[in-house]
Symmetry: D2
Subunit: 345 residues, 4 copies
């Protein structure tokens, strides 16, 4: 199967190159970048020397359609909304790593992404690719909106408890902690080494664009409107997201009950691992891999549950889940090309 | 004034040396360490060359009492409880940076510190030195229990709101994030570079020994029993603590209201700074200094307030606050020897 | 093929587990650890959950010999010298990642490793497994001394120039820079996060035990005695070694000449990559992979050449090269199980 | 005394604010920035809240001349050459932290700084302010070119040995390692956290603009032309420079001899500290302070000496040395406002 990447010069783009390079069923046929077309990818990323040395191309929809069967959009926000439908209509499978097709309501999109959606009708066509929760939906899909990194971590830690009514929906608080790679490779003051190192910084409190995405999914799962309190923190590391999630338990469930709920729910997913009681995962334990690890504490004094959820934001939070979605779309083993162990230490 | 440090070979100990070295009113007369006595401090800490080159001594209560007017205990947990009263009874001012005299109830001490308190009667004699909240109490005190690092950050962000009844007492959640220096200089797997770097790790969820300390103070302030949900996370940096605090607002207060409450409350404290609306502090902004910086968000949709509170755990969370307490005890300017700007970047 | 690891609970040990897990021709049958036998490896390394969950065993030579065809020694210095010959004599292939069998002269071993060698006769039996330089020797071998991490980086950057007589042998200076993982997982003051972070530290100047190993190989290659000046620096990162090598050119060679020499020399090695003129590799560009990347500068003013050489110390500098040696020993593709792209960023 | 800073919004600028804020003899009257004039400095640097909250101003030579007695240029390369003479001619003391007036020969300036010097005649008027070596020259000066960060570290480690003829002038190799703050606060790909973290990167090998500065001084000291081999490496930390210097000894000097040479040479400088034999400084040991620490090894086998030299590049390598020069210029204690202990850990 021939695949292409649009936006191949960003961090998600090159992570796709890494994962696809070792994938048994695909050939990477084309890499596209608007801003750096004409440049060999190795000039931007010397680590690809002897691995993948092609040149970045300009985006030519017709030409690309003739060269690939599936296209990944690893583009910044507000790009794929203008380009994806053309590919999908030509019968090309599309997996969009950006946020442009995640929200069903174009007004909500406009409110959080600060741009009008240019293909609002298309929003209903797209399947939200939270691959460990909706494998069947993804198998039947053609176009996938790959979930946001924070949303992936938070939703995998919340959906089983919301669906099984273990927690009180109005009590959900998500404290997100992320490395800087999620912000991409574009130079900015916020992600300069001198500003990030030896520092923890809270940002976008209550304003992060993954909030409506989480709320849309949780509302659907719980069948009643859910609003979450969500804070994001930049911490001095490159890869990794941890969401520490707090909620009121509906009844006096024990940590064992909650762990059991998670284990049952993710029984058939090879990528979600639940830690034994009394231990919690750290982000390094999933580094470079497609795992999502969960740990649980119940405070019997206060009746609150705390869930610790970690992913590698570049893999499970972006390119790895995209490959997982590609596998599902095409009926391959869900973990084809994704069997990497975490790199530790 | 002649001062001494017991436990001078740990990180709090050498931070005291740094601060006292530049203090206008004191002479550091004696440094004590059980495990490294006989060693010049510069052998353990070459950065002190030409600054302070004395030898660490063994602990001899009588000798020490004749050489110092004030003693800092920068000892690990479960040490000062056996030694401090002897100094206090000789009329020596004592400031204990460990947790041994913070809790009023010896049973609670035993439960959280896993040791019987050997001087339980003395617990009532000691003043809890949260210097920016209780300057008057400290001025009249003789023996000070210096607050814990997490407790300092959390309490400075909570007390005004609890006292003024802005938040619902049973809703308090504190998400703590700390650098590794709080764990001290003793080699351990948990604080090895290879384990901490590129990693965020949740630990002691619901079990941290600063929980009873926070609850004791908040209960006193609110005049009703308060229990908090408290999580701690180790992040890849050396200095700094951030507490992100979540609570339900009692009424529809705005961020401005909450900010105003903080500003009024800390009006006379030179060390607490409140950020303008829409901005939040980062730990680097207090690095190496005795400041505590606060930022606020109100989510009108959910009726919750989020408070971001940062300190340098080694300064305001330990040695800096200890010097501030010394200043108050002796009627000096509260910021004598503590006017360092944060070191940035 | 059945393999075992002795010393599986260290960083090299678990890196072997990662690499062997994805290797097409082997089964990991047994993991041994003296200090942690009886413990499931996942208790020490939760990232292995669902990947490899066996228990660490005690070392029983006979039992082990019946269960494995090849054994990796990932043990600390001064262990394998006592145990390896017993395995080798039973016909088990042995690959020793420690320094115990690298030096041919037992007196030199004693001088640098501060211990008498207990199997000095055996030193001559063992092949020094610098896999990209001596693939043929390794193919014919049975017992391999896997090179040291610094030695691998320095030798791959020096051997072609020494062998081809481009540089003056008495002028060689090697400035080594390493992350902390090379020091292992044993808690120690030197590798505590608080001591390493925001710090560069020179250590063991002129005393590092990889010096005699480098000199032994270079002397053999050049056919005249070579002594090197070697400095080591600990830098705040987990993985990666850079050696910046300085030498006087024998004639007015250009950077192109030197680059061409490297390219010819490593023509048949898939793991050594030479950068184009005017660019130099960084350690991140080989992170998690078995590559060794080289860059060159010639200063025409001073007649000196500078070679920048980077490896991932845990892969090419230890476990990756060990697997490469296993592949050669058994006539498999040299890169079987080693085709990982570097993880970037 | 009234002082002003031009380029106050960069890292050297705000470090000057930190140091001047605690200086006993000066008032900071004016901060200037071309690119951010009109902005309160606290908007760019919230850590200055309650410490220094003035607004950045545009550069108006006449107005500024009436408001200040001394001006620091903390500007990027190629700015002060156009502006400094106007201030100097009005009798304002000038201390230039940029490289514009360090080189005596305008052709050399043009070659390394890629710009024509617009005030070449003025180059002879300016005193090179290597404060620990030339205190007397600085005391008699009016305009100071503050040395480069790498040049400061390398020269303090070389001058005594070159002047006393202990080392062979053509053998000097300097391996420089720096944190990222030296590259300033301007967003760039090279200093993004994701590119610097877990990475060591060699850059500008043989091309760094501090090379001619070192050679100019060493040539003057040795009274014969000296050329050095100089490599620079970016390492994952914010502050700190280490230069590891290699040279051939002229005779069989011991480490003790070399240490003694350093100690005698810097006898009257409070800021240069020489480590005992067998130990070497690390950058953290000077963090936030104006110290320069030196360590020495002699390899008797090869006849080479290795000198390890560390500074905080933002203090001794920039703003601290600038304040030291100000102290000398005005006859104050050389360490006025500079008695900070290193911040450790």
């Amino acid at each position: 199967m021939r695949v292409g990447i649009i936006g191949a010069n960003g961090y998600s783009g090159i992570e796709l190159i890494r994962l696809l390079h070792e994938h048994p069923h695909v050939t990477l046929n084309l890499i596209v970048s608007h801003s750096t077309s004409g440049t060999p990818i190795t000039e931007l990323y010397p680590h690809l020397q002897a691995i993948y040395e092609e040149q970045l191309e300009t985006l030519d929809t017709d030409k690309m359609a003739s060269q690939v069967d599936l296209v990944f959009f690893a583009t910044p926000a507000r790009v794929s909304k203008d380009w994806l439908p053309a590919f999908a209509e030509k019968g090309i499978q599309c997996i969009d790593l950006s946020g442009d097709f995640r929200l069903k309501d174009p007004d909500v999109y406009q409110q959080w992404y600060k741009a009008e959606h240019t293909n609002p009708a298309y929003l209903q066509e797209v399947t939200y690719g939270l691959a460990d929760v909706y494998p069947e939906k993804v198998r039947r899909a053609h176009v996938i909106a790959n979930p946001g990194c924070y949303a992936t971590a938070a939703l995998l830690g919340l959906i089983p408890l919301v669906e099984k009514k273990l927690i009180s929906p109005e009590s959900i608080i998500i404290d997100g902690k992320s490395g800087t790679s999620g912000a991409g490779r574009k130079p900015s003051l916020t992600t300069l080494f001198g500003e990030v190192n030896e520092n923890v910084k809270a940002y976008k409190l209550g304003k992060h664009q993954h909030i409506p995405e989480m709320e849309q999914v949780l509302t659907e799962v719980s069948e009643e409107p859910i609003q979450v309190t969500f804070s994001t923190h930049l911490i001095p590391m490159t890869r990794g997201i941890m969401c520490t999630i707090y909620a009121d338990l509906q009844e006096a469930y024990s940590a064992k009950d909650v762990i059991h709920t998670f284990e049952s729910y993710y029984d058939s997913s090879p990528f979600v691992r639940v830690r034994p009681e009394g231990t919690w995962p750290s982000t390094k334990e999933v580094y470079g891999s497609n795992y999502c690890d969960l740990g649980v504490t119940v405070d019997e004094r206060t009746g609150k549950v705390t869930i610790v959820c970690v992913i590698d934001n570049v893999v499970k939070g972006a390119s790895g889940q995209a490959v997982q979605n590609m596998n599902l779309l095409n009926g391959w083993d869900v973990d084809a090309g994704l069997r990497h162990s975490p790199v530790y230490p």
